[in-house]
């Protein structure tokens, strides 16, 4: 018993350090005074020097703002298309071409990013020659490219949420006199809002940290944040990137922890209410 206790404890710590040691070292070095990332300048550290520099760096701030806009547009577009696809797959029963649609929407999940990026680039170039649009590759082409691969995730999330719901909810609404469009807005949509929200966040994250596809379809004036980081690191790791990454980790961690706490509370309240309802029945 004691032996196993020791074993699982070691396993836990090894696993955790494997996952988080790189991040911790990055956070620590973001407070380093030295320009050399690998050398800890003990007398002058910790310092917020690189954070200050970061906020004076127009290139990074501009790229971050562009990335946020692209991610938000991508997430919104992916949610609209993905929800429609998920709805059709989960609710419209068997129809001609269903298997094809199902396969095609989920294909981007397994497609190598390099191929997705390359084929989209070829598409945009061909389109430009044929129709004159897009004149240059910019934020719009990046957004379209991001929507194509992040839509698949939204589709899957929405489809599985709908699969967990009884068809008869929508039938009941029809039976009570609501027309199909009304059934969608009053019953179906409220039920899948959680899935749509998590799909939106998922698509946002995918777009936010994509380098490979963006690399193919970006133009000279549209450099996203991950692309800036990537090019900076190629010239040698600069400490302001550490600072930037630390801020991003902080934002993500706050978000994850808050939503976990909120969901846990909701679940507990629901459990309690259900227990009370069951007890009242006796």
């Amino acid at each position: 018993m004691k032996r196993r206790h020791w074993f699982s404890k070691t396993g836990l710590w090894l696993g955790l350090s494997f996952l988080y040691l790189p991040i911790v070292s990055m956070i620590v070095f973001s407070f380093n005074n030295s320009r050399l990332v690998t050398v800890w300048d003990a007398p002058n550290s910790p310092t917020l020097k690189w954070y200050g520099e970061l906020f004076r760096n127009e290139q990074i701030l501009g790229a971050a703002w562009l990335s946020i806009r692209i991610a938000a547009m991508t997430a919104t577009g992916a949610v609209v298309l993905g929800t429609l696809a998920g709805l059709v797959l989960a609710r419209f029963g068997p129809f001609r071409g269903r298997a094809l649609l199902s396969g095609m929407t989920t294909a981007p999940l397994v497609m190598p990013e390099v191929i997705t990026g390359l084929s989209l680039l070829l598409l945009f170039v061909a389109l430009e020659q044929l129709t004159g649009w897009p004149e240059a590759r910019d934020a719009a082409t990046i957004t379209i490219a991001h929507i194509t691969f992040s839509m698949a995730y939204v589709t899957i999330v929405v489809q599985s949420r709908l699969a967990g719901f009884d068809n008869s909810l929508e039938e009941a609404a029809l039976d009570l006199g609501a027309r199909p469009a009304k059934v969608f807005f009053r019953i179906t949509l409220p039920l899948i809002v959680p899935a749509i929200m998590s799909g939106w966040l998922l698509a946002f994250t995918l777009s936010w940290d994509d380098v490979v596809v963006s690399q193919f379809v970006a133009g000279p004036g549209s450099t996203t944040l991950p692309m800036v980081i990537f090019s900076k690191v190629r010239l040698g790791v600069s400490p302001d990137v550490n600072a930037l990454a630390t801020i991003m980790v902080l934002i993500v961690a706050t978000g994850v922890v808050t939503s976990a706490i909120w969901m846990r509370r909701q679940e507990r309240r629901r459990d309690r209410e259900m227990q009370m309802a069951a007890a009242a029945n006796k």
Binding site: D166, E171, L174, D175, A178, I187
Partner: protein
């Protein structure tokens, strides 16, 4: 229940000139190669509680869903109030349905669930509110109006589902296993409430159930279904006392079936020799079958007497055997008696007196089983 409705006025199906409210004409439903409902014709009259009874997969739910408009028939017609429903979508039919899963909208309160249907009719707000209150009063759920479905117990959800289906005052209410999810005690109580509500509001009910007890208690008439077909339609007592086929006799209640040959076939009596019984069954009413035909004599367990001594006229309608099993159920006891042919015969006795163990018939006793000549039902298929 059936007895109460026995005056002719309340039995419109006995009146050939009566207008049926629901007419199902030669309706068939196929899913691919599978025939779920096979050429069913039915007439259901106003103010009836009509039960579709059958095992799982017999097509009863499919038939109900066709009435609601969720499935189009592959062939045949459905008329409600004289109007062909072929092109009427569910949201325009004069029917409402109570779903087996209740299908309460989880994101709406009880009151919102109930008012949903009324809002679709674009009634004024005040009228909707008063109708919701009224219907919640009927199902005794008014104090729970603000709750969400997950805050209700199973029985309460069932009431809300009923209230929601009744709120639009449909002429025809379709109920899919309405009491299936309730425990036994609550189910019995709710059965009678359903009947009360139905009589008060004058709605026509079509109930789908696999529970024969539920069908017996609720129904004005029962349609027994098997493999997509209606095998028999009748009042609960007709179905129980005069089953038309072995399937119906066996499905409704329990029955002892003896295979035999007709040896005497007169208009007012028949005799059946049964090897399975090891004797002759004498029946005091005539049947229509060819002499010498193979028939089955079906005798209900409660119509068989059990005694230690042979009855006076033991030549016919009597058999001896050994008690093999006794199940004491409180209100009655079930005996399984093994007769000479090896067949087990089921007998039920009401426990009308409190007997001590030495007065009661016990295991391994030799007993005589006998029945009145009016008790057997002779079935030829």
């Amino acid at each position: 229940m059936a007895e109460r409705r026995n005056d002719n006025k309340k039995e419109p199906w006995r009146d050939p000139s009566a207008q049926a409210y629901v007419q199902i004409e030669n309706v068939t439903k196929r899913f691919g190669d599978f025939v779920a409902v096979n050429n069913v014709s039915l007439k259901i009259y106003q103010h009836e509680i009509f039960c579709l009874l059958g095992g799982s997969g017999c097509g009863k739910t499919t038939l109900l869903r066709m009435l609601a408009g969720f499935e189009p028939p592959s062939s045949g017609r459905i008329l409600i109030d004289g109007k062909d429903m072929a092109d009427t979508p569910p949201y325009e039919r004069p029917t409402n349905m109570m779903f087996q899963s209740y299908a309460l909208f989880p994101h709406m309160s009880v009151a919102k669930n109930v008012s949903f249907g009324l809002e679709q009719e674009k009634l004024p707000k005040a009228q909707i509110a008063s109708r919701v209150e009224e219907i919640l009063d009927i199902v005794k759920m008014r104090e729970f109006a603000g709750r969400k479905p997950h805050q209700l117990s199973g029985g309460q959800r069932q009431r809300v589902a009923l209230a929601r289906a009744l709120a639009k005052r449909p002429k025809l209410l379709l109920l899919d296993e309405p009491l299936g999810a309730l425990d036994k005690k609550l189910r019995e109580q709710t059965q009678f409430e359903l009947i009360n509500i139905q009589e008060r509001l004058g709605v026509t009910f079509v109930v789908v159930t696999h529970d024969q007890e539920e069908a017996m208690t609720l129904a004005s008439r029962i349609g027994v279904m098997n493999r997509g077909e209606i095998v028999q339609v009748g009042t609960p007592s007709e179905i129980y006392e005069f089953p038309g086929t072995r399937f119906v006799a066996d499905f409704i209640g329990s029955v002892n079936m003896f295979e035999g040959q007709l040896i005497e076939d007169l208009p007012d009596r028949v005799r059946i020799r049964s090897a399975e019984l090891g004797g002759v069954v004498y029946v005091d009413h005539g049947i229509s079958a060819a002499p010498g035909a193979v028939v089955w004599a079906a005798i209900r367990p409660e119509k068989i007497n059990i005694s230690r001594t042979a009855p006076a006229d033991a030549a016919e309608n009597c058999v001896s055997g050994v008690v093999k099993e006794i199940a004491y159920m409180g209100d009655l006891s079930i005996y399984l008696v093994k007769i000479a042919s090896g067949k087990m015969v089921r007998v039920t006795l009401p426990n009308t007196e409190r007997l001590s163990d030495h007065e009661r018939i016990l295991w391994d006793e030799n007993v005589f089983l006998s029945w009145h000549s009016s008790s057997p039902v002779v079935l030829s298929q």
